[in-house]
């Protein structure tokens, strides 16, 4: 089977020596891409460095305190 001209040159080259239909190669590539994406994806905030802004009026206690409690809250 001759590969269709719409496939990339590398896939066409592989197809000239193989018997599998081109779809198989593209599927294989898709699986690799999906695995790479899955291995790099993280839940929001995981391991990320987030810079928090502080409004002086909303802070109690010294800057060098041993423990800092940050409270995210909703008045309602």
């Amino acid at each position: 089977m001759r590969p269709a001209p719409s496939y990339s040159r590398s896939v066409r080259r592989v197809l000239l020596h193989g018997r599998r239909p081109p779809r198989v190669y593209y599927r294989f590539l898709l699986v690799i891409v999906a695995l790479v994406v899955a291995s790099t994806a993280r839940p929001p905030g995981a391991g990320a460095q987030i810079e928090l802004t502080l409004y002086a009026a909303m802070v109690k206690g010294p800057a060098d305190a041993a423990v800092t409690i940050i409270e995210f809250s909703d008045y309602q």
């Binding site: 839940p43 929001p44 905030g45 995981a46 990320a48 987030i50 810079e51 928090l52 802004t53 502080l54 409004y55 009026a57 909303m58 802070v59 109690k60 206690g61 010294p62 800057a63 305190a65 041993a66 423990v67 800092t68 409690i69 940050i70 409270e71 995210f72 809250s73 909703d74 008045y75 309602q76």
Partner: protein, 131 residues
């Protein structure tokens, strides 16, 4: 806070939830009170008065605390601190904080309201880790 005498710092961050339609205005108003040096008294008043956060309510609380009503009203109506409140919301989202209250105790995330004893135990643990 008094119990730990300088060993604790408390930072309050705004996280008005989208379903609480009056909350954002209350958070902005609290910052207006903060600009007049009354953040914490106004903050306490809001928690006592929830969910009465219509504009008139917010102005009345300012009057109760002796704030300059003209300046406070201007601050609230101009939404002078809207961007700062939004910045807190964005930071909360970036940290994956979707519920309130959420505490970060030396970076350790605790979700939900805690009985005082549990909070005290967590603070003691954090203090021990720093020793």
């Amino acid at each position: 806070m008094q119990e730990y005498d300088g060993r604790i710092r408390l930072v309050f961050k705004d996280r008005p939830l989208p379903m609480h339609t009056l909350a954002r205005g209350a958070h902005e108003a609290a910052r207006c009170a903060g600009a007049a040096g009354k953040y914490w008294p106004y903050h306490d008043l809001l928690f006592e008065a929830q969910p009465a956060f219509r504009r008139d309510d917010l102005l009345r609380y300012a009057t109760e605390l002796g704030l300059n009503l003209t300046e406070f009203t201007r601050c609230v109506d101009e939404r002078r601190y809207a961007a700062q409140v939004e910045a807190d919301v964005v930071q909360a989202q970036a940290l994956g904080i979707t519920g309130t209250p959420t505490f970060l105790i030396n970076g350790r995330k605790i979700v939900g309201g805690l009985p005082l004893e549990e909070l005290r135990a967590l603070v003691e643990d954090a203090l021990k880790e720093r020793r």
